[in-house]
């Protein structure tokens, strides 16, 4: 595999850049704070669907384009660079990904064409603990009649308030922390007993907490194998970590570019502040981290596409690195801007906030360092 973009990918990148330039300004984000609906611009969602982006990683038989994460990453990077808010990771990677990997043909037929054309939004409800810990599931699914009864509480479900269906991780056996005993169910929010709490996150994206109070689902709601949901879950979360990393990479690059420009124009003490060696050396180190981040995103996306043996390891390296670099970028971006950087008026703070939320989603650096060591057997 090659770690540079091929011709088709460069075209896709150009098209994504144009999409952002023509349809969005970072300032739109401030308006979303007052939105009480879906929390993303629905007109843009339709345009993204028209461009085929939501169909990228799905097989053609379900309305997909049969492309891969390398391509999806190109799009997500540009959207992240512009801080565009769209539920692509939620619907295409999390919910849609779980069905693609584990769904029955009927489930796929029902949902994937709608995911691909944007007429439905899916997502995944996994987290229950304070921080991401995918096997720490206490929500239960108890057999009842020819189906199951779900009970429990899910938190930080990305775009959970806007989803037409949610893939829920519940425990059919074992105890919290066990990898085995997990089962995935696809649940529509209209099902009696499902209660969705909408929360605006600090970066103006939206997530939901979801209460499951004796929610009855049929046996046909099971996605993948009973008790072995972790097989699908591990893969979906690795794909989500890599996809989100592409979004983070865009944000990091834009933060760097904005700041570098500021260093070249802002004057203090009669000189451009970018001429002070203290800031210069920090900018150079930040540049190196950004370049390393870019490389690992490109490599991980391609390893997932190639189904490489070490893809899960790479996904952890990738998310850990991007989380660290996002934190560094948020910190340096604001610090190098000085006072203006901490005002709401300036965009740099918006980038830091998006980076922060992404840092915590699907496992922060500490989580992925530990997971990497476990995957490596130490």
């Amino acid at each position: 595999m090659s770690l540079i973009l091929n011709e088709e990918q460069v075209q896709l990148q150009d098209s994504a850049k144009a999409f952002v330039a023509d349809n969005w300004a970072v300032g739109e984000l401030r308006k979303l704070r007052k939105d009480t609906g879906k929390g993303y611009p629905e007109a843009l969602w339709r345009k993204a669907a028209e461009l085929g982006w939501l169909a990228i990683p799905f097989p053609e038989e379900y309305g997909g384009l049969g492309l891969g994460f390398a391509e999806l990453g190109v799009v997500l990077e540009e959207l992240g660079r512009g801080l565009v808010v769209l539920p692509i990771v939620s619907s295409v990677v999390l919910g849609g990904g779980a069905l693609r990997l584990g769904g029955t043909d009927a489930q796929k037929q029902t949902w994937l064409p709608k995911v691909c054309d944007g007429s439905a939004v899916l997502t995944l409800a996994c987290q229950e603990t304070s921080r991401h810990d995918p096997y720490a599931v206490r929500s239960t699914a108890t057999p009842a009649g020819d189906g199951y009864v779900l009970k429990g509480r899910k938190v930080l479900v990305p775009d959970g308030h806007a989803a037409d269906a949610v893939v829920v991780v519940a425990r059919t056996s074992g105890a919290a922390g066990d990898r085995s005993g997990l089962t995935l169910f696809i649940v529509e929010p209209a099902t009696p007993g499902v209660k969705v709490h909408r929360n605006l996150l600090l970066d103006s994206r939206v997530a939901a907490n979801i209460d499951l109070q004796d929610v009855r689902v049929g046996a046909d709601a099971v996605v993948g194998k009973v008790d072995q949901g972790a097989d699908v879950l591990d893969q979906v979360l690795a794909e989500a970590a890599a996809a989100l990393s592409a979004d983070m990479l865009g944000g990091i690059q834009q933060t760097f570019d904005i700041t570098l420009e500021y260093l070249k124009v802002r004057e203090q003490f009669g000189a451009k502040i970018g001429s002070f060696q203290g800031l210069k050396h920090r900018a150079a180190r930040w540049f190196c981290e950004k370049e390393l981040s870019k490389s690992i995103v490109l490599q991980t996306l391609r390893a997932l596409d190639d189904k490489a043996d070490n893809a899960l390891q790479l996904a952890s390296v990738c998310k850990a690195r991007l989380s660290d670099t996002a934190r560094l970028s948020g910190k340096e971006g604001i610090q190098m801007h000085g006072g203006i950087g901490v005002t709401d008026e300036h965009d740099i703070g918006l980038y830091m906030k998006r980076g922060r939320v992404s840092e915590m989603l699907f496992g922060d650096a500490a989580f992925h360092r530990n997971r990497f060591a476990e995957l490596r057997g130490y």
Binding site: R131, L202, A207, G338, V342, T343, D344, A366
Partner: protein
């Protein structure tokens, strides 16, 4: 010693006679702090009554000279006074920028007439002061400020804009650096003015921060007339006053910083860790976070030892000089790291900005984390502190 004991008896008697019982002990009606000024309000009339009695005795600023509204106490006497007030659980609540920063500068640079007027009004809690230093184009390079003051008869006419003026919208007066000689080298054309915020032509506008609304304002001056008698120190030598003031600011930030380093937060970092890891006792299960917590706690122990060492040295007669920059630097960065760790540990609840399903405390954690981003920038950036340390403490040559 005998004198001190006499003094103690007097104080004790005075307190017994004058301090209302509901201004003593737990559940007293006293506010935490009195900022003073024309807008001061009182939750309970007895609090005001007690404050007025303190003012009358000069006990809001006990060590200041009587001529300037103080009680003229020696440090030893003041210690007795504080002990006796502590004994019955009362206090002299006044605290503001006027006392902490402007007053020391006035003591050093103002005329006798200015001292009598302004120090007394500070002591009596009549005036709340704010500080007009930074400008949009003059941050770290403060001396490049461009707010102009042009002499016109017995007045200066001031035009320009200040930024980061804390509480400008609720303050009565502002102390300001203005440029009086644009032709001189930048440090030598600045004067220090005291300006009534009710002067025609002044307006303020609050600044929205990444953490939400804030005490900071922009302050605009549009042909504001300021009597020359309100200039402190020689014309064009205002930078001398500014330097003295900045040193007080850093010392104050270093001194009072325990709060921003996370100490005053409702739950300790360890408590947050225990709750969010669902580990009420024993070893914390998340090894990396545990290690980060240890490092933070250790840093804080070392920082406080350094603060104590400096205070001990000061007691032995060595004042704090440019090392103040070390405290400002370290404390603000440690505070940021603590706030960052706290917010990360608090997890999903601390990612929520608004929602029907989010505890107030977690939202507070996030706002403190964001607000803390300003701590390494305002009051002199970390880079400026590093410059000061390398130049003034280490004696390294200029660029």
């Amino acid at each position: 010693m005998a004198d001190l004991e006499t003094f103690r008896a007097e104080v004790r008697q005075w307190l017994g006679e004058t301090c209302p019982p509901n201004c003593q002990g737990k559940g007293s009606v006293l506010p935490d702090m009195v900022w003073g000024g024309r807008r001061q309000t009182w939750g309970h009339p007895d609090a005001k009554l007690w404050f007025d009695r303190l003012v009358e005795k000069g006990y809001t600023v006990p060590t200041w000279p009587k001529d300037y509204g103080g009680a003229g106490l020696s440090p030893a006497e003041n210690k007795v006074l504080q002990e006796e007030m502590a004994r019955i659980g009362t206090r002299s609540m006044l605290f503001n920028f006027g006392i902490a920063m402007l007053a020391p500068a006035l003591m050093e640079f103002a005329t006798e007439e200015q001292k009598r007027l302004h120090l007394t009004r500070i002591a009596r809690g009549e005036i709340r002061w704010c500080q007009g230093y930074s400008e949009p184009g003059a941050g770290s390079d403060l001396a490049s400020l461009r707010t102009r003051a042009v002499r016109d008869g017995d007045d200066y006419v001031v035009n320009g804009q200040k930024i980061w003026t804390s509480d400008a919208n609720v303050s009565d007066w502002i102390f300001c650096l203005v440029r009086t000689d644009p032709a001189a080298p930048k440090h030598l054309g600045i004067s220090f003015l005291l300006i009534d915020m009710e002067s025609p032509g002044i307006s303020t506008s609050p600044i929205e921060l990444i953490s939400g609304s804030s005490p900071f304002c922009q302050t605009f001056f549009d042909n504001v007339r300021v009597p020359v008698s309100q200039r402190v120190h020689t014309e064009n030598r205002g930078w001398d006053v500014a330097k003295a003031l900045l040193l007080h600011e850093r010392t104050m930030l270093a001194d009072g910083g325990r709060g921003s380093a996370g100490g005053s937060a409702r739950r300790s970092l360890l408590q947050v860790a225990r709750e969010t890891m669902a580990a009420p006792e024993g070893r914390l299960p998340d090894a990396a976070t545990r290690d980060e917590l240890v490092q933070w706690e250790m840093d804080r122990v070392c920082y406080e030892a350094t603060l104590k060492r400096t205070m001990d040295a000061a007691k032995a007669g060595k004042g704090m000089g440019p090392e103040g920059s070390m405290f400002k630097l370290y404390l603000s960065e440690m505070g940021q790291r603590g706030a960052d760790l706290r917010q990360r540990m608090a997890g999903h609840e601390a990612l929520v900005w608004t929602g029907d399903d989010c505890p107030d405390e977690e939202r507070q954690i996030t706002r403190e984390w964001l607000y803390g981003k300003a701590s390494t920038i305002l009051g002199g950036t970390s880079e400026i502190q590093l410059n000061i340390i390398s130049k003034r403490v280490l004696g390294l040559p200029g660029d």
